[in-house]
């Protein structure tokens, strides 16, 4: 860990526009700083700026950026109206980490790519222009969708996958004022600038996440991984399906562990919407999701794994009664 200056912010205004790395829960940033993957000169601690409430927002909710993962998952309104979000959060990390990690910080979580984590290895995300160690290397955990020749890393989190499916909106504030970014658009594809994980601009800070009105229906988050708990997703599927008269009136899908961002495919959702459920239809939806999917060798299995998991999740979500 490189030396840094530490200051504590007392209001969001202290942090917005500051030339410093923001630290909230610190569960990912400190992890990376210890390995010198991250080497900020200045840290500004926002744990005492407020923004730690879950509040009603019309029919929806406004979640402060400092709301801890545990609090968000256990929030009665979230459990009742947006159970997908609770389930996704609870599928991630450990209780200890969820107690510390924040809503904003979790959105900012960086990839788990082995080569990103190793300062002696090439990594275009960590050190632009140095190459990608994972291409041709050990890439079991890596992206099958939306990757580039520069980076095949995945976004490793769970919460944002649910937020993407739920059409959440992220409210940020920067020197130029406040703006909103759809959760589904918050994370980027790597392209030739993999060093940028998301659309947040320099000096901007996440203030809150807004959830639109509850969708109801069946909400399922299925996370497939190498051990039953405390492991990152190989593939995760977030699904919200509202059935009406034997047809899918609403179908929302998002996928984790497969791309540099939570993966959402409107075409797949449209395919399902208004249709009666069937394995053939689920398979066509999977075709749409997996359009352009490409394995890197060790992660080829993620392509059939996503297809199968999606089929099982949709079958469960469209069951008439449990």
């Amino acid at each position: 860990m490189r030396p840094f200056d530490y200051t504590r912010a007392h209001a969001p205004a202290d942090a917005v526009g500051a030339e410093a790395r923001i630290i909230a829960g610190g569960t990912n940033l400190l992890d990376l700083m210890k390995l010198q993957v991250e080497t900020p000169d200045r840290l500004i601690d926002i744990n005492h700026v407020g923004l730690d409430r879950v509040e009603r927002d019309g029919d929806g909710l406004r979640i402060g950026a400092l709301v801890r993962n545990s609090d968000l998952a256990a929030d009665p309104a979230v459990r009742e109206g947006w159970p997908l979000l609770s389930k996704a959060i609870l599928a991630g990390a450990s209780a200890q980490i969820r107690n510390r990690a924040t809503t904003g910080g979790n959105l900012m979580q960086r990839t788990r790519c082995y080569y990103f984590y190793d300062i002696d290895a090439p990594c275009n995300k960590r050190e632009p222009g140095s190459g990608c160690g994972a291409i041709g290397g050990n890439n079991r955990q890596h992206a099958i969708l939306g990757a580039s020749d520069h980076c095949i890393a995945t976004y490793p989190g769970d919460m944002a996958v649910a937020m993407s499916a739920l059409d959440a909106v992220i409210e940020v504030e920067g020197p130029a004022g406040k703006r909103e970014i759809r959760a589904a658009d918050f994370h980027r594809l790597p392209g030739d600038t993999p060093q940028r994980d998301n659309e947040l601009q320099s000096g901007e800070m996440i203030l809150s996440v807004r959830l639109p009105a509850p969708l109801g229906g069946r909400q399922i988050y299925r996370k497939v991984r190498d051990r039953r708990s405390y492991a990152f997703a190989l593939v995760s599927v977030a699904a919200v399906v509202v059935m009406e008269a034997g047809r899918m009136a609403t179908a929302r899908l998002a996928f984790g562990g497969v791309a540099h961002k939570p993966w959402r495919v409107p075409a797949a959702e449209s395919l399902l919407t208004g249709q009666p459920p069937s394995p053939e239809l689920f398979d066509r939806a999977a075709d749409a999701v997996l359009a352009g999917a490409r394995g890197q060798g060790h992660n080829d299995f993620k392509i059939p794994l996503l297809r199968r998991t999606l089929g099982a999740v949709l079958a469960e979500a469209t069951q008439e009664s449990k």
Binding site: G26, L30, S70, S94
Partner: protein
């Protein structure tokens, strides 16, 4: 940099020359509270679990300076060899440890876990997200943030269940 930590009820005024000191290293090296263990230093094992303001966290993934004014409970605050807490006694009775290195973290974690359960917090196994019960599977899931390589997990689950039932 002055940092005041209330650890196990006692106030400590620390002068830290370096903001890089983790909460874990502050406890171990600056306050000589070695009960909190360093297993991975990256939030991947749970050996460093402490309770901060009522919540269990990984003390390795926090800077000491971030905890100025916080109340911290470490294993030393749970019970001493002469005055063990019921959870500690249950760990001994059920042999919920072998080498003992992850044990303080397990016990601190379990203590806080039961409180989380009492407050009705769900886990990934709580299907309807409501009224989770203290089943063995729930204990296993909620304790999965504490790795034990000696692999006393079944004994740990027994110790926790017995403690919870004793307290009910």
């Amino acid at each position: 940099m002055d940092v005041t930590l209330t650890v196990n009820g006692a106030q400590h005024d620390l002068r830290l020359d370096d903001p890089r000191v983790s909460l874990l290293d502050a406890l171990r090296q600056h306050l000589d509270l070695n009960g909190t263990k360093k297993g991975c230093d990256h939030g991947q094992c749970g050996a460093c679990t402490v309770i901060v303001n009522g919540r269990r966290i990984n003390s390795c993934l926090s800077l000491a300076v971030m905890h100025d004014g916080d109340e911290i409970t470490t294993i030393e605050g749970i019970g001493t060899p002469d005055d063990l807490a019921p959870m500690q006694r249950a760990f001994i009775r059920h042999d919920g440890f072998q080498c003992g290195y992850c044990t303080p973290g397990q016990i601190v974690s379990a203590t806080a876990m039961l409180e989380e359960l009492r407050q009705g917090w769900p886990s990934q196994l709580s299907d309807d997200l409501k009224n989770p019960e203290l089943t063995d599977e729930e204990i296993r899931e909620r304790m999965s943030g504490n790795i034990c390589r000696c692999s006393c997990y079944p004994n740990i689950v027994d110790a926790i269940r017995e403690t919870a039932e004793g307290a009910a």
